[in-house]
C-alpha cells in the first residue's frame, strides 16, 4: 500500500478540487471545535499529510460502529477522509479472508512499525479466550500483538472504550475495554453505541493535521466532541430551566417539546455531541425525536438503573470512572505504572507533532 502520496494529491486524483478540499476542511475544523480562522492552516497541513496506515480490529461487537461509518450515503465528507487513510486490515470490509487477511495485517504491521494507527471496536473477553477469536487467534492475543508497535490506539464505540453491552451485568464473557489491557500506548476513546461517524473521522483528521491525538477528558474522550453534556447543549434545556417537563410520552408537555428529564433522559450526565452534530446527516437526534438520551457514550450505561427512570430516582453507578485500571492493572504496581508512563511518553514523542500555534505561525509567515 502506497503511503507516500500526500492527502491533497490523493484527493485531487479522485477529482476533488481545492474548493472541495476547503469545504471539507471547513466542516472538519468546526467538528474539531477549532476556530474557523484556522481553516486555511488546517487545509495547508492536511494537504501535505501522509496517509497513515490503519489496522482495524473488531472483537466482541455488533458491527454497529462499522455500520455507522459506512452506511452514510456516499460520498460524504467523512467518507472522503476514510477513503484516504490506508485501511490495511478490517476483517468485515476487506476482500481477503483467512490466511491472506492475516498476512495483510502482518505485512502492514511490519511495513509501518511504530507508525500505524490501531482502531478497535468491540470489547475483549477475558473469561475464556475461545469466546471470541479471529483466525483462531484470541482477541486478547491479537490486541496485544498489534498494539505493541502501534503509534496510537483509537477505541471506537462504547464496547472498546468501556466494555459496553458485553460488559453489562452479569458480564458472562468477562468483557473488558482496550484501556484495561493496554497500558503503555496513547489511547483515545470514541464511545457511543454507535459513535457519530464524523466524530471518528474528526479524530483521524486531528491526527493527520497535528500529528498527535486530540486533547482528552478524564475518560480519554476527545474534548472537542465530548466536552459538553447533552443537557447543556440540548434545545430543550430552556424548558428544564423553567420547570416544564413531559410526564408521559403523549401528554401536553411531550407535544410541546418540553424537557424529558422525568422520562429518564440521561442527558445531564452524558457527554457527547449528539445535540449539535446530530444523526442522519444532521437531521435529528433521539431527544428531538421525542425520546430521552440513553447515555450510550458513558461507561456502564446499560446498568444505569433503567432507561425510563429519572436520574433523580435511579440507582445508577457513576463511580466507574475511578475504577479503570484497578481490575487488571492494580497488581502490576507503581513501578510498572511509571515504566508504562515513560513508554507512553516515548511513543508520543516519537511522532512529530504540531500545535495550533505552530500552524498559525506558519500561516502568518
Amino acid at each position: 500500500m502506497n503511503h507516500d502520496k500526500p492527502l491533497g494529491q490523493a484527493l485531487r486524483e479522485q477529482g476533488v478540487s481545492r474548493r472541495g478540499f476547503l469545504k471539507f476542511c471547513a466542516t472538519t475544523a468546526s467538528l474539531m471545535a477549532l476556530p474557523p480562522s484556522m481553516v486555511p492552516a488546517i487545509a495547508k497541513a492536511l494537504e501535505s499529510a501522509r496517509r497513515p496506515s490503519v489496522i482495524w480490529l473488531s472483537f466482541q461487537e455488533c458491527t454497529g460502529c462499522t455500520e455507522s461509518l459506512t452506511r452514510s450515503h456516499a460520498p460524504t465528507l467523512e467518507g472522503l477522509i476514510f477513503d484516504n487513510i490506508s485501511l490495511d486490515y478490517h476483517h468485515t470490509l476487506q476482500a481477503a479472508s483467512g490466511d491472506a487477511a492475516e498476512a495483510a495485517r502482518e505485512a502492514a504491521m511490519e511495513e509501518n512499525k511504530g507508525k500505524y494507527l490501531l482502531v478497535v471496536d468491540g470489547s475483549i473477553p477475558l473469561g475464556n479466550p475461545g469466546y471470541s477469536t479471529i483466525a483462531g487467534i484470541s482477541n486478547l492475543e491479537m490486541l496485544k500483538e498489534v498494539a505493541e508497535h502501534a503509534a496510537a490506539i483509537i477505541a471506537v464505540g462504547t464496547c472498546a472504550a468501556y466494555g459496553g453491552l458485553p460488559h453489562a451485568k452479569p458480564n458472562p464473557t468477562g468483557a473488558v475495554s482496550v484501556e484495561e489491557i493496554i497500558k503503555d500506548k496513547p489511547i483515545v476513546n470514541v464511545p457511543g453505541c454507535p459513535p457519530i461517524p464524523v466524530v471518528i473521522t474528526g479524530v483521524l483528521a486531528h491526527f493527520l493535521t497535528f500529528g498527535k491525538l486530540p486533547e482528552l477528558d478524564h475518560l480519554r474522550r476527545p474534548l472537542a466532541f465530548y466536552g459538553n453534556n447533552i443537557h447543556d447543549r440540548c434545545y430543550r434545556r430552556p424548558f428544564y430551566d423553567k420547570g416544564l417537563f413531559a410526564n408521559t410520552f403523549d401528554d401536553e408537555g411531550a407535544r410541546k417539546g418540553w424537557c424529558l428529564f422525568k422520562l429518564g433522559c440521561k442527558g445531564p450526565v452524558t457527554y457527547n455531541a449528539c445535540a449539535t452534530i446530530k444523526w442522519n446527516d444532521g437531521t435529528s437526534f433521539p431527544i428531538e425525536a421525542g425520546h430521552g438520551c440513553l447515555g450510550c457514550s458513558e461507561p456502564n450505561f446499560w446498568d444505569m438503573g433503567g432507561f425510563y427512570n429519572a436520574l433523580s430516582e435511579s440507582t445508577m453507578d457513576l463511580s466507574r470512572t475511578a475504577a479503570v485500571g484497578i481490575a487488571v492493572g492494580a497488581a502490576a504496581g507503581a513501578a510498572s505504572g511509571l515504566l508504562n508512563r515513560r513508554k507512553k511518553s516515548k511513543a508520543e514523542a516519537a511522532h512529530e507533532t504540531v500545535t495550533v500555534k505552530d500552524l498559525q505561525r506558519e500561516e502568518k509567515s
Binding site: 476533488v16 478540487s17 481545492r18 474548493r19 472541495g20 476547503l22 469545504k23 471539507f24 471547513a26 466542516t27 468546526s30 471545535a33 474557523p36 480562522s37 481553516v39 486555511p40 450515503h73 460520498p75 460524504t76 465528507l77 472522503l80 447543549r233 440540548c234 434545545y235 430543550r236 434545556r237 430552556p238 424548558f239 403523549d250 407535544r255 410541546k256 417539546g257 445535540a275 449539535t276 452534530i277 446530530k278 446527516d281 444532521g282 428531538e288
Partner: protein, 134 residues
C-alpha cells in the same frame, strides 16, 4: 384517516427555546468587528442548540440579499448574502443533497469563493497547452 393520526399530531414550529435573540446579537457584534477591524467571523449553525423550526426562523429574519452563488465541489454549496450586507449564509451539501455544514459568515467575500493561486497556476499551464494545440 385512522385513529392513530390524531394521536401522532406534533406541533412543529411551536417551540421557542429563546436561542435566536442572542445569536442575532452575535451577528451584530461580528458585523461591527468587520467594519472596525476588517475581521471575518464564522458561526457554525450546526454547533448551536436549536429547536425544530428555529433555524428557519433565523434564516427568515436574515432574509435574502442581492448575491446568490452556487458552488459545485463535492456536491453543491449555496452561498447567499442575506438582506444585511456582509452577512452571508453558506450551506454545504453532498452529492445526495444532504446538508453537510451550515455557516453564517460575516465577511466581505466568503473565503471559499476566492480562486486559489495553485488553481490559477495550473490553469495557466493548461491554457498554454491548449494554445499550442490550437
Amino acid at each position: 384517516m385512522n385513529s392513530m393520526d390524531s394521536s401522532l399530531k406534533v406541533e412543529i414550529g411551536s417551540y421557542n427555546s429563546g436561542n435566536i435573540p442572542p445569536l442575532m446579537h452575535e451577528i451584530r457584534h461580528a458585523l461591527r468587528n468587520l467594519l472596525d477591524n476588517d475581521e471575518t467571523t464564522t458561526i457554525d449553525l450546526r454547533g448551536l442548540p436549536m429547536a425544530p423550526g428555529e433555524q428557519q426562523q433565523l434564516l427568515d429574519i436574515l432574509g435574502k440579499g442581492e448575491v446568490s452563488v452556487q458552488l459545485d465541489a463535492l456536491g453543491k454549496s449555496e452561498i447567499t448574502e442575506s438582506s444585511y450586507a456582509g452577512v452571508w449564509l453558506i450551506i454545504h451539501y453532498n452529492n445526495n443533497k444532504e446538508v453537510m455544514g451550515k455557516f453564517i459568515e460575516i465577511t466581505r467575500m466568503p473565503a471559499i469563493l476566492k480562486t486559489r493561486t495553485a488553481d490559477m497556476e495550473e490553469s495557466l499551464a493548461a491554457l498554454q497547452v491548449k494554445l499550442e494545440e490550437v
